[in-house]
Symmetry: C2
Amino acid sequence: MPAWTLPQPMQRALELAKASAAAGEVPVGAVVTRHGEVIAEAHNAPRETHDPTAHAEILAIRRAAEALGDERLTDCELWVTLEPCAMCAGAIVHARIAKLYYAASDPKGGAVEHGARVFEQKQCLHRPEVYSGMGEARAAEMLREFFRERR
Amino acid sequence: MPAWTLPQPMQRALELAKASAAAGEVPVGAVVTRHGEVIAEAHNAPRETHDPTAHAEILAIRRAAEALGDERLTDCELWVTLEPCAMCAGAIVHARIAKLYYAASDPKGGAVEHGARVFEQKQCLHRPEVYSGMGEARAAEMLREFFRERR
């Protein structure tokens, strides 16, 4: 699927994932939008920042909340190149993100359609609408390449 | 159980939870220790900081990793007054926390012995040793009082 058929925020998330790999970080990028406008973006950065919580989603959510001056991102969408882990899925719930778009699924670390399945828990206080698969091939290939080079 | 029988880090976490309530935040406190020394501490702060990820555990983990200059807190223990949620349990995994001590269990939001049960997932890459119950009565009473006053 050619990249230009992707919604712009997912294209941007893929560019951020590429920048992540160039910085020596696992290639994952994330963008927060609101009413069609980009509010915040980030790539993975735990190594550079010595912060185990610095996944692309967490950084983008924190920046968006700071930009809006509100811990709730009620009208916002999160676009990310990889299925969120339990930490990031939990943050999506706390932030009340309305819609989650992710590219590649992650059987090893994902917690949306795998493992902890955070949004499917009865106790889950907020469930975003979830759309996956857009940009999957490119996102997954970047990850494979990254780990191949490091083996 | 009188407070002075509690290990010092859990006493400190309870003090932090009290400070959290005084600041208008849900009363949860967290302390990271290493070789018996306090490395970092925090109380809940999402409202004050407009940061939905600013749970006591996340803040304490981020501060500890910054203090040690390492995204892995391999030799560290986390002491927290409430059972961690999915976000915080995920962060504990990423940080490779060795031992987790929590006071009160949280049937509504906890993800250690409830809901997502993050550490019990097959895909979970790291499982801390988990100890719960120390300081439970005080931690739970602080939470009840906080929500009672706000109803």
